[in-house]
Symmetry: C2
Subunit: 183 residues, 2 copies
C-alpha cells in the first residue's frame, strides 16, 4: 500500500515483482503460513499488523477465511497487469479486498470485481491469466528468482545491488539503502 | 543496549525481566533458535542485525559459536543483579560480550569477567546465582510469566496494560504505547 508513493517521493525507481509464497514456504519446510504454524507468534503478528495499519491510517486489518488464501490467480493477473498499466492498482486492490474487507481472493469473482473497479475487462484478463503460457512461465521464473535471492516472505524489497529487506517495517531502510548505493 | 536510555528520555518507567528462551522455543516446537531452523530466514536475520547495529552506532555483530549459547547462568546472575544495582549494566555487558566480541556466555569465566569489569565480586555472585533457590525460583516464575504473556522471542516489551511488542525494532512503538495508555 505504501511502496509506490514512498519510492516516488524519495526518487527511487520501483520494479514490482509478483511471486508465489507457497513454494517458498515449502522450501522452508512450512506446509502453511508460519502465522498458522506458530500460534503465539501468529497471534502477535496479527496484532502487530493491526497496530501498524492504525498508525499508518490504513483501514483495520481483517483476516480472510481461510488464511492464507490461494493467491495463484491473483499473482497471474498481477503479472499480466504489470505488462500493461494497471498492475500496481490491481495489487493494491487485491490487498484491500483481502486484508481490509477479509474477502477470499481465491475466488475469481472477487478478482473480477477489483479489475472492474479499475475499468479493466475482467473476463478477458482472467481468461488470459489462466491460459497464457507466457504469464504462467513469467510467474514461475519470478518465484524461482525470489528463491535464488534468498526471499522467505513477503513483502520483500531487493535493491539493485542485491541487498534484501523483508517486511513493510523495512521499507524505509530499503529505500535508504537504494539511495545510498545508487551510482 | 538501547532500552534504558530511551525509556529514561521518554519518561517511561522500565522494569527489566530476564527469562529463559529455551522453554519458550520448545513450546513452539523449536528445538533450537528459529535462526538455525530456517536457514534463509536465519541468514537474513543476521544480516538485518548487522545493518541495524551499524545504523545505531553499535559495534559490528559477531555471532558466538555455537549459537544460541546456553544462557541459564547469565540469566540467573542477571536476576540476582536486578535485586541489587548492577543488573542493567551486567545485561548490557553480557550482550556486548556475546554479540560484539562473539564470546561464549555459557562459560562462567566470561561472565566473571563482565562482573569484575563492573566492580562486582564475581566469585560470590556466581556462587549465589548457582546455589540460591530464590534466584532459581524467580527465574523459573519469570519464564512461566513470559509464556503466559504470549512471548515467543526476545527482546520483548510488555506495557502496563499488557500490550506486547517484540524486537528492538518495536521499542519506540512500545514506548509510544506506554505513554499513550499511561494513567
Amino acid at each position: 500500500m505504501r511502496v509506490a508513493d514512498l519510492a516516488h517521493t524519495r526518487g527511487v525507481d520501483l520494479v514490482w515483482q509478483p511471486f508465489l509464497l507457497g513454494p517458498i514456504f515449502q522450501a522452508q519446510g512450512w506446509a502453511t503460513s508460519p502465522f498458522n504454524l506458530y500460534p503465539a507468534k501468529g497471534r502477535y503478528m496479527w496484532r502487530d499488523l493491526a497496530r501498524r495499519a492504525d498508525r499508518q491510517g490504513l483501514p483495520p486489518v481483517v483476516a480472510p477465511e481461510p488464511f492464507p488464501q490461494n493467491g495463484l490467480l491473483a499473482a497471474r493477473i498481477a503479472t499480466l497487469g504489470l505488462e500493461e498499466s494497471w498492475g500496481p492498482d490491481f495489487i493494491r486492490g487485491v490487498f484491500t479486498a483481502q486484508f481490509a474487507r477479509g474477502e477470499a481472493i481465491s475466488d475469481p469473482a472477487c478478482l473480477a470485481a477489483v479489475l472492474s473497479s479499475l475499468g479493466v475487462d475482467a473476463e478477458e484478463s482472467i481468461r488470459r491469466a489462466q491460459t497464457d503460457q507466457s504469464v504462467k512461465d513469467k510467474l514461475r521464473a519470478a518465484t524461482q528468482h525470489a528463491k535464488d535471492l534468498g526471499l522467505f516472505g513477503a513483502p520483500s524489497f531487493v535493491t539493485a545491488d542485491g541487498e534484501l529487506f523483508w517486511g513493510d517495517d523495512r521499507l524505509e531502510d530499503a529505500l535508504d539503502w537504494a539511495l545510498m548505493t545508487a551510482k
